[in-house]
């Protein structure tokens, strides 16, 4: 469970623990440590990666940035006094399934951290939280997160989640899947779930490519970007995910990148607590298949690219239509939409009550 945020930590109580064997040497923790506490070591772990080391322990403020950004759950702040000796994701990730299948420098693990922290902070009953994924690299999230979890078919996580959420109104249903899964093969379901304001939170990890199948073009890939199926550059205009969700009527819409771990975590928390359809797009590096082919470097380079190219959404200046992502161009981030329209369940319930009166038998929560 996350310790209280915002309170200064006593450095005498805290230390940084590193599980070198989990590390894949992406360097996120070192690069994004605001105090220069960490450095890459010269050691190798058994997989041949250089794990980080605590180079300047006195500089550490125990902000937990390294812990949040680490996609391998390999570094964390620990305290005997506070009884914390594991990574924040440890209680919600099936550690018996580690190491995960994601490449070094992939951001999906970072999104998992943000999701896990958001779950902790939202105070949801973890026995009543359901996670649904489709197919692909991000589709494997459901298999790693220790909740009631469903790894469904390609593109169909949302309609499965619709059935689950309607059938069990006492459960919080979360979909985590990739951009190919949710906006190509699953695009139709995405629009309709947003239109219905179906009771679910959708986290779309957008890495602009089909990673699992070798890097084919997705509907979010910017024009001109190179994929194995667009070797001369993508011709077609990409989807702007927040714009779609907004125009279909979603109650909450946000986009952040894996560089913005705090914002991403807070956005997911808000999404989890918003009734109806909420969508958080997480722009995430695929160094192996997108970054490499598009000369954007490795995972760390992509993270730096996000830092440099992100612009904040300003309500008085922008609409979600401005959030389209061009090739090597700016990435608009922010919380775009926050509405309070009745969710599908509520709309269904109140409409039937109104029309049928005494004859209406509300669907009971399965006992």
């Amino acid at each position: 469970m996350a310790e209280k945020k915002g309170k200064k930590k006593d450095p005498k109580e805290w230390r940084i623990d590193i599980d070198a064997e989990r590390c894949k040497g992406c360097g996120f923790c070192v690069e994004f440590c605001p105090k220069g506490t960490l450095a890459m070591s010269d050691d190798f772990n058994s997989k041949g990666y250089h794990p980080p080391m605590v180079a300047n322990p006195d500089s550490c403020t125990y902000c937990d940035m390294c812990e949040m950004v680490c996609p391998e759950f390999a570094i964390w702040q620990a305290s005997d006094v506070q009884k914390k000796d594991t990574h924040i994701a440890d209680d919600l990730v099936r550690m018996d399934r580690m190491p995960h299948i994601w490449c070094p420098g992939c951001g999906i693990g970072t999104v998992v951290n943000c999701f896990v922290e958001a779950l902790h902070e939202a105070g949801l009953d973890l026995d009543k939280t359901q996670i649904v994924s489709g197919i692909g690299c991000t589709g494997r999230v459901a298999g790693y997160v220790d909740l009631d979890s469903y790894h469904t078919t390609h593109g169909r996580a949302i309609p499965f989640a619709t059935g689950l959420a309607l059938g069990a109104p006492d459960q919080k249903v979360v979909v985590i899947s990739g951009d190919g899964d949710l906006t190509a093969i699953g695009g139709n379901h995405f629009f309709h779930a947003a239109r219905r304001n179906a009771d679910m939170t959708v986290i779309c990890v957008n890495n602009f490519t089909y990673g699992m199948t070798g890097g084919q073009v997705t509907p979010t890939a910017p024009q001109k970007s190179i994929a194995i199926t667009t070797p001369y550059g993508a011709f077609d205009r990409p989807f702007n995910i927040p714009f779609i969700a907004d125009s279909c009527g979603a109650n909450f819409v946000a986009r952040w990148t894996t560089y913005h771990v705090r914002h991403l975590q807070r956005a997911i928390k808000t999404a989890l607590l918003t009734p109806g359809f909420s969508l958080v797009e997480a722009i995430s590096p695929c160094p192996t298949l997108y970054g490499r082919r598009n000369k954007l470097g490795d995972g760390l380079d992509l993270m730096k690219f996000y830092k440099e190219k992100s612009v904040r959404f300003k309500k008085d200046q922008h609409t979600t239509a401005d959030a389209e992502i061009g090739f090597q161009d700016q990435i608009m981030v922010g919380n775009f939409v926050n509405r309070e329209n009745p969710s599908l369940l509520n709309a269904m319930d109140s409409s039937l009550k109104d029309k049928l009166g005494d004859k209406y038998v509300q669907w009971p929560i399965p006992g």
Partner: protein, 385 residues
């Protein structure tokens, strides 16, 4: 367990097969349905949409059949009995999720009110040309259970049976109706609730870690549902007892053996058929669903001519009633399959009987049921041999 009297419209009705199937589903305890409009099945979702809110059920019209066929599985894991309804083109779209329900062992019911195909074909006219699709339509190997009603009464009765079988075997089950049966209006007797026996879902109640694919002595794993704290994992990937994906041949083999055996070991128990005038018969008609009624008429006409014809009517088409067909083939000199396609169940009948007797097909393009005279002509040909 008995049916809930609040959900059963006991009494005599004059309704069509589609409405009757809906009442069967409600009586069976179905409280979740997802569907998409398609002729000639639509009366079922129409009646569901009207009836479900009055009996504590949830119906959602989805954006397409693909969505319906997986939305219903979300409904199942919420703890409900769930179904969807469609016809040919919709069934083709649903096929991937028949496979998902098979590998995840999700109990649910698919009603296919068959029409003539391929493709859009004859949307308003009957056929029985999806019979092989029910067994082989989704990729990969699996066993299927499919029941074929021939009347509105059987649409009611067999829909309940489908739900019971789905729960008992933890798998998807097909009701293979057709346009004619669905749109035919006849007397339907809905019995009192206490005469309707239901199979309830078996949930895991132990205190150890729940293993969603650990087979009990009967070969069927126990179910869970959202919110029990089991933190299970359900996947369409090849998985072990824990539900975790393990992509190796030994695990694939173990999983597949379990899937195939839970039906394969129970074929005798699952097989249902009826025989008519078979005692002295030397020609046997074999049929199912709506075609059975035409075959019956043809049998009577042949008997009037003094030809010794009997009729075996399959109620379960899948698993195929291999044993009764093989036994019958050893008693008669000729067997004729009567069905509204170019020989789908005929292939199954033929492979179990052609060693012992002559076999023939009285098939059809679909579009109309057989004229009994067409079947009679086949009988007369067989009698001459």
């Amino acid at each position: 367990m008995k049916a809930d009297p609040k959900r059963v419209l006991s009494g005599n009705h004059f309704i069509n097969g589609n409405h009757s199937a809906t009442e069967g589903a409600i009586a069976a305890g179905c409280t979740f349905a997802a569907g998409y409009p398609i002729t000639p099945s639509t009366e079922i979702v129409e009646r569901i949409a009207s009836r479900f809110p009055r009996v504590g059920g949830m119906f959602v019209q989805m954006e397409d059949e693909i969505a319906s066929s997986i939305c219903l599985q979300g409904g199942v894991w919420s703890g409900r009995k769930a179904m969807t309804v469609t016809s040919g083109p919709g069934m083709s779209l649903m096929m991937e999720h028949v496979g998902l329900a098979q590998i995840t062992e999700t109990p649910c019911v698919f009603i296919n009110v068959q029409r003539a195909g391929p493709s859009t074909g004859l949307p308003t006219k009957t056929a029985q040309a999806d019979m092989m699709q029910a067994k082989w339509g989704s990729h990969g190997d699996y066993e299927a259970i499919a029941l074929s009603p021939s009347s509105p009464q059987e649409c009611f009765d067999y829909t309940i049976d489908c739900f019971n079988l789905a729960e008992e075997y933890r798998m998807p089950v097909f009701l293979m109706s057709d346009e004619m049966t669905g749109h035919m209006t006849e007397k339907v007797v809905i019995p009192p609730a206490d005469e309707i026996e239901l199979v309830e879902r078996q949930f895991y109640t132990g205190s150890d870690k729940y293993l969603p694919y650990k087979r009990e002595a009967n070969g069927i794993p126990l179910m869970s549902k959202a919110g029990l704290g089991h933190h299970y994992h359900i996947t369409g990937l090849t998985h072990d007892e824990r539900g975790y994906p393990v992509l190796t041949k030994p695990v694939q083999e173990k999983m597949m053996t379990g899937l195939m055996k839970k039906v394969g070991d129970n074929v005798d128990k699952l097989t249902r058929y009826e025989e008519f005038m078979m005692e002295d018969a030397d020609i046997a008609l074999v049929s199912y669903g709506i075609s059975f009624r035409m075959a019956y008429k043809a049998m009577e006409m042949a008997r009037e001519k003094g030809i010794k014809v009997g009729l075996l009517r399959m109620i379960t088409c899948w698993p195929f009633p291999e044993k009764p067909i093989r036994e019958l083939a050893q008693k008669v000199k000729s067997m004729i399959m009567v069905e509204l396609n170019y020989g789908q169940m005929f292939l199954e009948m033929d492979r179990f009987s052609n060693k012992y007797c002559e076999t023939d097909l009285c098939g059809s393009s679909g579009g109309e049921v057989h004229e009994p005279e067409e079947i009679l002509t086949k009988i007369l040909e067989a009698a001459k041999k």
